[in-house]
Structure formats: structure tokens, C-alpha cells
Symmetry: C2
């Protein structure tokens, strides 16, 4: 099920993630669907690990998403179990039983309550997930988990991903170095045998669960909630942040309040890791050959700007034009027009890179097709539009729509 | 710019449209963009022709759409001028001048007011449209217009369309035969060098403009406003209905009120023509190899049902699965889930044709992959979902997403 060719937008080299005290990781072959590759992973946390989460908006969430939502209120995590190959979504009572069995087994091994166990699954929708394939592996995987096991876990999560996604940032808090590591997967936004977006970050910063949740909500908005591959929302999208708090033993005081003046640097570091991972997800968008950044300015509000930007980034006609290296700004006009948000057609301006192609509701008088076409050969296409009605602005990221996207999603059974 | 291959979903033969008293048509080569083909058309109406219109919801409408909206309030039409090759959209003051010149020229030739002239354009966005290319042709085209000229007009409107779209229905009113003819174009929903949906219907039924408008709103909702090719909304979508009223001379009394008991048969005939044309548009969706019909039942309301149905019909992953003849009902679960409308995951059932694939929130116990896969080889795929929360239902139509769609929209400049 793996794509054979690595995305042309993959990073030149993968981030080397440092160890974070309080978390140990492991990955194994459980034979859930794939053969000859790791498809099961665990993150084991020391006592006192706080967590926060952001989940899919789907009305048909998977059983693991239901479990995470339930257990999130406890604010405490000891184990995360991740599998690829089966999403355990739309599996009814069987799906609930499967995650319950996994949680019970994990709690027994670790000696904690099942409410401290979290799960995430990606893969086929609608096929029952046999929990014994997971629970049978857990004792050894947990016993042998290691602090340096990030890369194999990132790889075990992959479905149609063509490369593992890793990011890390260190910053200073109370004069002491703290770290945030993150891993993610996701290629199309979702689907059977396919994608879903999963992302997990772990930090040693001591921080209360509610403060972490607040930071995660803020930083997810401008990162994972500002990317799109194909408008299709997974039943299983899960972003979890874990704080082992182990930097506390090195003298970092706990962040117990969102108004703590030290919170800025943690927010910045967290956003940096999330954005890095989010852009890696888009860069591995199914069939993607180009990354598209869309910034909308002059909108009625930032919410309105984001809706317009997503309308552009999601437009099949904009995406195919980028794939064809065609500076087709008329399709951007169309996509702005269809967003249904306030925009003044006769004040509208559009740039591709630094080249202004349209101005004040008409083709730019200095429009030069050769310059515009030359720009379209870049790997990253930056589209900016000013819609002329206010001060709202937003940036989102997407990718182009290629024949390979259709092949990946249409040909794979035939 | 014409596709070389006719859509596999094209009708076996084109409808032969009868003459309708009070309208004469013509088409000519104006060299607006294409060479060696007709790209300009006129419909000339006798005095007393009422009209109604439904237009794009785009916030960046074309100059002809602005003109039609302005003139619609007069309720009276003498001339419709249609061109392909240039959308006259995002052309600022020049675009307004271009349609004004066309309207003035038409009014002078016919001897009416410019407010009785209507225009529709499809083609490139952002390029000024030289009105003289149109006005220079009008005198002869109007003088030589004929009652039997439907097919050449339908052809002159084409852009990436692979076949002309024609439909006709006759019914009885006051014991007398009346007729509704219609023509349409549209392939992708929009774009430079590309599509846009234009549709024009003409009837001899005597009917007041406001009654016609009411009927058109009702019937457009279940036809042209229930189809989707790629979610992309044109700057130029235009549906106009003209009533010459000439059946009045044969004894049909005028329809002056929506509560007239005779209105039912006209509504039915109008809906029949619009739906026929709408399905032809979808069947010629860019790159389409299969027509997709999506019916949602058990929704909170008919509005909610339509939103869910469109979420399914627009999902790239559903569309690519259909292209790949993959009975991938898990993607339908995803698309229902992402619609954001009320749905009970655990009561959800999904059918492909007569085959129930999912039931009460799980894969159907009788699921048979061979039967489901065999069904997917049909030209028309009927997807039905019951979302288990109410009585709302709706049906929409779309098409699959193929590599040819990407090629048509991404390759054409390269």
C-alpha cells in the first residue's frame, strides 16, 4: 500500500529527535494489514504526564477518537497505542470493544487506570479491528520501549505517506533547555487503505493539562487546521500533546496558568513544531508535486480571510492549474467569488509570488505572461489576494492536484 | 480548445427541437477566440416576451451577469446575445462598456430599449472583450435568424463541452399543445478557456414574468442547483427562461398567478427540460466517465439532506473511487461525517444501487465485495444513504474524478 516514489517535496533530511525524559517509544510488526513492515507503535509515559487533544470534526468519528475524547477529561496519560492498516472507524459496538480491550490490557501492564490509555488508528474504514493483534504485542513492546525510538514510530504510522514526518524544537524556560518533539502522518486527508492525519507531540515542559489544551487549540488553528489536501475530513484525525513535565526536576517551574509570562516561548516552540509537521503533511499530499501557500488580506475578518483562502487552496481548478504550471489567476478570482465571503470585485488584487497579476478588478496593466509562467515552475507557489474590504488576513497551505492523486485514490484496487 | 473525444456519457442522439413561434435563432463565427467554429449566437424574441433568470452566487460575477440582473426587473426580452471564448469576467469598466455597447447596438437594430437586451459569455476570465467583434455581426445575424436554428446555437456556446445539450418537452394547456425548448453548455463548473454553465429555455406559454420567475426558482433548485462537477462556481453561470406567449394566439389563457391550477403541468414540463439539460451537463463533466446520483434520506430536513448529498458528490475520494470502480463505501461514511449536518453514525445505512453495503453503523453483515464491485462497472452509479435522524431527503448528481479532468485543466497550456 506504500507509494513507491518519495514525494518530490520531501525534506532533504529528516529531523533527528532528541530524547525526552519521561517518554519511551517502540514499534513492531503486528500484521494488522500490511506484511513486512511495522504497523503498531506505543508511546509510554511516566506518571504525571499531562495531555491535551484536538480531534476531527467528523460526525462519524472512529472508536479511538471516541476513546480519546472520553479519556481526555482526566488530563493524564500513561500510554498511547497507534496502529496503521485499520482505522477502527464505522465498526459499531465491535469497535468500542476493541479499544476497550486495548485500554484494559495497557492499564493492566502499566498498573494505571484505563482512562490513562489513548489510542489512534489509521487505515481501512468499516473493518473490525481484532484487539488481540494489539494486546498480544503490548507487554513486550512496553517492556522494551526506548527513549530514542522516534523514527520507527513515525514510520509505523505511515499509510500512503511517502516519508516519515518528524520535527523538534528546543527553547529556554527559566534558563533551562526544554524540548518539544513531534511526529505526524497524513497524505490524503483520510480514507480506507489510505490517509488520516495523526500527530503527536511530547514535551518535557511541566504544564497543567488545561493550559496545554489552551495552547494546543491556539497553535493548531494556524497549523494543522490551516492545511488541506483534498477537503476530505478523516473520521480519525487526532492531534495529541503530551507533557511529561520532567524538566521540572531540572528546575523549571510548572506552567499552571495561561497568563504566565513564560508561556509565550512555549507557545512559539509548540507552534513551530506543529507548523513544521503540518507543512510536511501537505508536502506529502497524495500525488503532490507542488506546495501551495495562500494568503488572503483585506478581508472582513481573519475568519473570513481563512474561508476565502481555503476556497482557493481547495479549488480543483486552482490546484490543477498549479500542477500544470499555469499562472491562471482567473481561477483564483473564481475561487474567491465562490467563497461567499465579503469581497470587493473591483478592488481585488492578486499576486503569484512577487508578481501582481490582477489589480483593482482587472488584469494588471503590467501583466507579463512569460514572467508569470516562469514563476510557476517553483516547487512552492505563493498566492496572495487582497479582497479590499477590511483588515482580516489568514494563510493556509495546500498542494496541487495531479493525475497521481487520481491514480493513488482510483487505481489501487484495479 | 475542444476536447477531441466525446464523453462516453453523451446521449445516443440529440433531441430535435421543434420551432417555437416568437423566437428566431442564429449562430456565426465571430473569431472571438476560436477559429473555424461558430462562437457567437443570438436568440431574437417577438414583442411581449417575458423572462426570468437565476444566476451564479459568485461574489465576482461577470459583466454580462451584471447586465442580466439589471435588466431582469423590466421583465421583457427582445434579444439574447451569447458568446464563447471570452467570459467578459473580471474586466472592470471595460467589461461594463463592452456589454453596454452590445445592448445599445442590439436595441438600435431591433428598435427596443437596451433594457430588453440580455447577454451571456463563457470563456477566458480577465481578458477584455472587444464589443465590435459582436456588434459588427449583429445586424446580419438578427436579420437572418431562423425558427429552426437551435442546434447551431447550442454548438456555438460550447467550450470544453464534448457535445451540444438540447432538450424539449411538449404538454397540453387548455387542450392546446405548448412547448418548452432548452439548450445548455457546461463541462467543468467554470473557468478560463473552459466551462461555466449557461442554459436557456424558451416556451410559447403565455405567462407573466413574476410567475415564470417563481417557477424557475422552484425548478432550478432540483435541477441545475442540484448538480456539481468540481465545486467550482463560475463567475458567469446563467439560466434564463423566456416565454414568447405565442400559444396565446392559439387560445391558451395567460398564467398570471402562481395559484393558477394549470400551473402544475407547466412546472412539471419546465422541470423535465431543466433536469434533462442539467444531467447532460454533468454527463459532460470534464473527464467524466461515470454519472453519480446521490440520494440522502433520513436527514433533519431537505436542506440538510442536500448538504450531505453534495458533500458526498463533491468528495474527491468518493469521485476517484467511482472512477476506479471501487465500491468504497467507507469514503461515503467519511463524506457524510464531514458535512457537519446532523447524522446518527450508529443508525447510518448505505446502498450502492440496490446493494446495502453498510447498516446501522457497521459493514452490512451480508456485504459481498464481488457483488458490490460488479455494480461499480455501470455508467451510472446510484449512491443512497440514510442518516437516521429525520424525514429530510434530497437527490443530487455529479460525476467521477479522472486523470482526464486533471489533464483537461492542468495540461492545456503545457
Amino acid at each position: 500500500m506504500h507509494a513507491e516514489k518519495v514525494s518530490p517535496l520531501a525534506p532533504d533530511k529528516f529531523a533527528e529527535l532528541p530524547q525526552i525524559e519521561g517518554v519511551r517509544l517502540n514499534a513492531a510488526e503486528a500484521g494488522i494489514k500490511y506484511t513486512g513492515r511495522k504497523d503498531l507503535a506505543v508511546l509510554c509515559f511516566d506518571e504525571g504526564t499531562a495531555l491535551a487533544g484536538v480531534f476531527t470534526q467528523s460526525k462519524c468519528p472512529s472508536a479511538p477518537v471516541d476513546l480519546c475524547r472520553r479519556n481526555l477529561s482526566g488530563g493524564s496519560a500513561r500510554l498511547l497505542v497507534i496502529n496503521s492498516g485499520n482505522a477502527n472507524a464505522f465498526t459499531g459496538v465491535k469497535g468500542e470493544q476493541s479499544v476497550s480491550e486495548t485500554a484494559s490490557a495497557g492499564a493492566n501492564i502499566i498498573g494505571c487506570t484505563p482512562s490513562e490509555i489513548f489510542a489512534a488508528s489509521t487505515g481501512v474504514i468499516g473493518e473490525p479491528l481484532d484487539a488481540s493483534k494489539i494486546t498480544g504485542r503490548l507487554p513486550q513492546m512496553i517492556a522494551e520501549a526506548r527513549a530514542d525510538g522516534w523514527r520507527p514510530v513515525a514510520e509505523a504510522m505511515m499509510t500512503t505517506d511517502t516519508f516519515p514526518k518528524l520535527a523538534t524544537v528546543s527553547t529556554e524556560l527559566d534558563g533551562i533547555t526544554v524540548t518539544i518533539n513531534g511526529i505526524a502522518k497524513g497524505a490524503g486527508m483520510i480514507a480506507p487503505d489510505m490517509a488520516t492525519m495523526l500527530a503527536f507531540v511530547v514535551t518535557d515542559v511541566p504544564i497543567e493539562a488545561n493550559v496545554l489544551q489552551s495552547l494546543l487549540n491556539e497553535t493548531a488553528a494556524g497549523s494543522f487546521n490551516s492545511i488541506t489536501v483534498d477537503t476530505d475530513t478523516s473520521t480519525s484525525d487526532t492531534l495529541l500533546a503530551f507533557a511529561t513535565g520532567t524538566a521540572g526536576t531540572r528546575g523549571v517551574k510548572s506552567l499552571a496558568d495561561v497568563s504566565d509570562p513564560r508561556i509565550g516561548s512555549v507557545r512559539e516552540a509548540l507552534f513551530s513544531v506543529l507548523k513544521d509537521l503540518a507543512l510536511q503533511v501537505v508536502s506529502d499530499g497524495e500525488g503532490a508535486s507542488k506546495l501551495i501557500e495562500v494568503t488572503v488580506t483585506g478581508a472582513d475578518s481573519s475568519v473570513s480571510a481563512k474561508r476565502i483562502a481555503l476556497s482557493v487552496a481547495n479549488s480543483p481548478l486552482v490546484k490543477t492549474a498549479v500542477a500544470g504550471e499555469d499562472a491562471n489567476w482567473g481561477r483564483v478570482v473564481m475561487a474567491i467569488g465562490k467563497a461567499g465571503e465579503p469581497a470587493d470585485r473591483d478592488k481585488l488584487s492578486i499576486w503569484f509570488g512577487d508578481n501582481r497579476l490582477a489589480h483593482l478588478g482587472e488584469r494588471d496593466p503590467d501583466y507579463d505572461e512569460d514572467i508569470a509562467s516562469a514563476y510557476m515552475q517553483q516547487d512552492k507557489i505563493v498566492i496572495r489576494a487582497d479582497v479590499g474590504v477590511g483588515d482580516g488576513q489568514a494563510t493556509v497551505w495546500g498542494c496541487d492536484l495531479t493525475k497521481e492523486y487520481v491514480a493513488i485514490n482510483g487505481d489501487y484496487r484495479s
